[in-house]
Every structure is written in structure tokens, then in C-alpha cells.
């Protein structure tokens, strides 16, 4: 099934929840409402064959987009060898998404990483702890307003690039 057909199928099922469909360099990205993400992912896995979650991450669009964050799900279909990308917009003041670790076990660590580095929490996650940073770390380093040198340090004066 082509990406187009998958998108049509998604639209037919979740008409109002599909916010945007973009094709760039041959890759399809579907933006959906964050309230429906678990339903959408379950549908993608069971009815469209996207049985493999390759990657899950947060992107910070500070000053470029509102709402500020996107959580990105890169899916793969092992049978037809196709990829598709699902995104959900997440607002800064309400930075949480329902967990998809019930849909794919692999989401567990990816969501922990997203929480740790980007500060987006996942409702219903079984074990939401920091994963890469120390347990007592304050702040979320991958946010755009987090200084590269870390907090409480003089900004680096030399050239970065």
C-alpha cells in the first residue's frame, strides 16, 4: 500500500484528528492530535502493518512554532519495508503525551529519554525516570533555552563553528 493510501485510510478513520500531511524528499509525515496518539498508533500497528517503532523523539521549535514541541514517531513496516512518520504537537504549558509503551515495548526507553532531555512527560508510563542524565539533574538539556555550557556557567566566548 502506498503512503497515499495509508494517509487516506488514516483520514477516513480519524478525520478530524489528522491535522496535517507533508511529503518531503519522498517521506510522508502525518501530524495528528496528541489526544488520539495511542489510538492512531494502535491502528497503525494492527490495521496498517506498521509493527515496528524505529524511533521516538521530541523536537523543540522554540520561537518557530506554536505549540512549542513536537513528539515524533518513526514507524516501519517489516512486511512491506515502508516507513512513515507520525507527529503530535505538544504545548509548553501542558508538556505531556500519553505513552505508547503499551503499543510497542521499545517506546519505554525512548520516552524516558525524551522526558530526560526534552522535558516532555508521558502519561501512564511504567517507569518514567531520567535515563542519560544523573537522577538528580535539574533541567532538560535538549531544550533550546537550555545553555550549551550548562546552567550556572559563564557562556563560552570562543567560536563554536
Amino acid at each position: 500500500m502506498s503512503d497515499q493510501a495509508i494517509v487516506e485510510k488514516l483520514k477516513a478513520k480519524f478525520s478530524s484528528a489528522v491535522l496535517d500531511v507533508v511529503e518531503h524528499r519522498g517521506e510522508t509525515t502525518v501530524t495528528v492530535e496528541k489526544e488520539r496518539i495511542v489510538e492512531v498508533c494502535t491502528f497503525m500497528r494492527d490495521d496498517c502493518g506498521y509493527n515496528f517503532l524505529c524511533d521516538l523523539c521530541g523536537v523543540d521549535y522554540l520561537g518557530k512554532l506554536t505549540p512549542r514541541f513536537m513528539v515524533v514517531y518513526n514507524l516501519y513496516n517489516i512486511t512491506t519495508k515502508q516507513r512513515i512518520r507520525i507527529k503530535v504537537p505538544v504545548a509548553e504549558e501542558n508538556a505531556n503525551v500519553d505513552t505508547v509503551s503499551t503499543v510497542w515495548g521499545t517506546a519505554n526507553w525512548h520516552e524516558r529519554e525524551c522526558w530526560d532531555l526534552m522535558g516532555i512527560s508521558f502519561n501512564g508510563h511504567p517507569d518514567l525516570r531520567r535515563i542519560l542524565m544523573p537522577a538528580d539533574w535539574e533541567g532538560h538539556p535538549l531544550r533550546k533555552d537550555y545553555p550549551l555550557q550548562g546552567p550556572d556557567r559563564e557562556p563560552y566566548q570562543g567560536r563554536l563553528s
Binding site: 524505529c54 524511533d55 535538549l142
Partner: protein, 393 residues
Amino acid sequence: MAFNTETMVINMGPQHPSTHGVLQLILELDGEIVQKATPHIGFLHRGTEKLSEYRTYHQVIPLTDRLDYLAPMSNNLGYVLAVEKLLGITDKIPERAKVIRVLMNELTRLKSHLVWMACHALDIGAMTVFLYCFREREDITDIYEKVSGARMTSNYFRVGGLSADLPDGLEQDIRAFAESMPGHIETYEGLLTGNRIWQKRTIGVGHISAEAAIDIGITGPSLRASGVDWDLRRDNPYSGYEDYDFEVPVFEEGDTFARYKARLDEMRQASLIILQALDKLKPGPILADCPKVVLPPKQDVVESIEGLIHHFKIVTEGFSPEPGEVYQGVEAPKGELGFYLVSDGSPKPLRMKVRPPSFVNLQGLPQMVEGKFLADVVAVIGTLDIVLGEIDR
């Protein structure tokens, strides 16, 4: 006399020789049986993704070397392919550059698998193999040094091609090496496959079913040893892999022995691909003809004003891909290595996310060791072939 029936919690790592770096496992033991295993990672976190947001696209390439430091060229390849896709110049890469990329990648696969086999065997008591494997790995690091100047952190591929052509005479060296490799693999097999101790330590150990492996996201040889026939080189070919004739070894057992055999067969296939790549190698350019984004050949910089201008612009400012996002997965020695890049139209990535295969594969460790012997934990860490450099990034 009352027996003490409490479980015991022990700490394995981060300074433990068989955790392959700085992995810490908190193990809850009932006698010798592991009740619960909790991996703790992040001791090697260097903030690669954060750093890359402050560098131009070209300046990120050396950072990728340091992810999976046992297979630097696979990381280079995944990253440059993602940038090329973002720029839309994937089909402009010259044939010679593509062939050399495949060639170096398969050497990298051999290099990574040799370290895996050496350390895995050493961990579970077969010490001889270690030195044999490192002898061959040394030859590959020599080849690395000749092409890129560095033995480990190669930084060899560039957006649009390669940093330099192969030096004279290296093709013969690589061919001699690739031709000798099947014989070496026989030697390793002779030391391990029929060895009863090796079989006792690996057959049935660390079993994972295909469904569980897919659910937890395991990729690469570890997934193929559980019976899932999926290899990105064949199924989503990149860099010209569709033109090579190779087999994808798949085993059904899903245990440590099957993963050992899968990687061993992969090494045989890798040496065949290297020989095919050498046959395909024809003289030609090694950089794409896209002056706005690809560094011009040095000769042009010295001789022509356009070359000088382009070189200056790319080095000082970098290039700005149009806004958009791409995901590129490559079959690294350890599994699917993915790069997710978001561009906002500036010369630096808005976001670079690495999908490291080891990170996801390690997630499968608790369910592979719980209920098993403590000694099997060491075997399972070895068989998952993890590198903490890419887990922690």
C-alpha cells in the same frame, strides 16, 4: 536453623570488564538466579545531539565517529546519507564514491564483528580467539589509517562524497585481506563452533522470540537470529547496495549461539561484498558536482576563483538545506542506525536525533536474563554487542 531467604542486590559495573564500557546493572539475585536486572546507562553521555545543533552540517561528521567508536564509518555513512537526502542530492553521488562507501562499510562491519567475537569469547572463557580476532582487526585499522589518517575516528565521508580518494596500491591490500578473511573465519569457527564448553555457554542462553524482539525494537543480526528476515541493505537499499549480490543469514533459534552464527555468516558475506566492490571500482570523481553544498576538489580551490569562493562559503557559513525533515536508516554492524534530521533553513540542524541500535537492543537485556543464571548475564551482554558510546551519545 533458619535459612536466610532474602534476595541479594548486587552492582555489576560500571567498572566491570565484561560490561563493555560503562554499563551498570543492578541485579537482584536469588542465589545464582537473576530475579530482576535493571540497566543504568548515561555514564558516557557527551551531549552529541545538543552539540550538533551548534555546528554546521559538515562539522557534525566528526561527532558521529564517536558514537559507535568500533564502527565509525557506518556512523559517518548514516549521517552523510541523511544530509544528502535532506539536500535532495542523493542521486548525484558519483559511482566511485558510492562503491568506496560500500567497501569501507563492509570493512567496518568486519572490524566491529571481530571486536564483538573477540570480547564475547573472552567474556565467557575462550581466551584464544581474542588474539586471532585482534590480529585481523589490526589489518583493518591499518586500512583505515591509510584512507583517512586515523585508526578509529575516521571522519572519512563527506556530504556529497569522500574526503579523499583511496591511496595508490591500497586496492591490492584490501583484496588480499578480503580473500584471506574466509580462511580466518574458518579458524575462529574451528576454535568455537564445535567446542563443547562454548556450546554449553551459548545454546539456549538469552533466548528471545521474534515477536518479543520486534516489540522491544531489536534490530540487526540479533533480530535475524530470532528468525526475522530484515536487512536494510537489501530491503531499503542505499549507496548502491541493490547492485551487490549477497545473502542475508537468518536463524530461527533466537539464542546466543544463533546470534553467533548469524554474525559469523555476516562476516563471510561482508568479505564477498568487499570483493564485489573492488571489482566495481572504476576511476572517476569522488565528489558530487553540487558546488553550493559540496566542498570542491582542492585543485579547483587553488586554480579557479569559483572554487575558492565556494570553498570559502562552505567552510565559513556552511549550507542551508530547505526546511523539512528526513529519517535515514542504515544497516550498521549492530542493527539499524537511524539519523533523524530537522532543518529550519539555517546552516545548522534544528534537531539531530540518533537512533542508536545498541540503545534499543540493550532494552531487551532484562527479559533475556531474568530467571537465568548470573553467569549468563555476561554471555547476554556480549551477544547483544553493545557499545556504550552510542548508547549514551
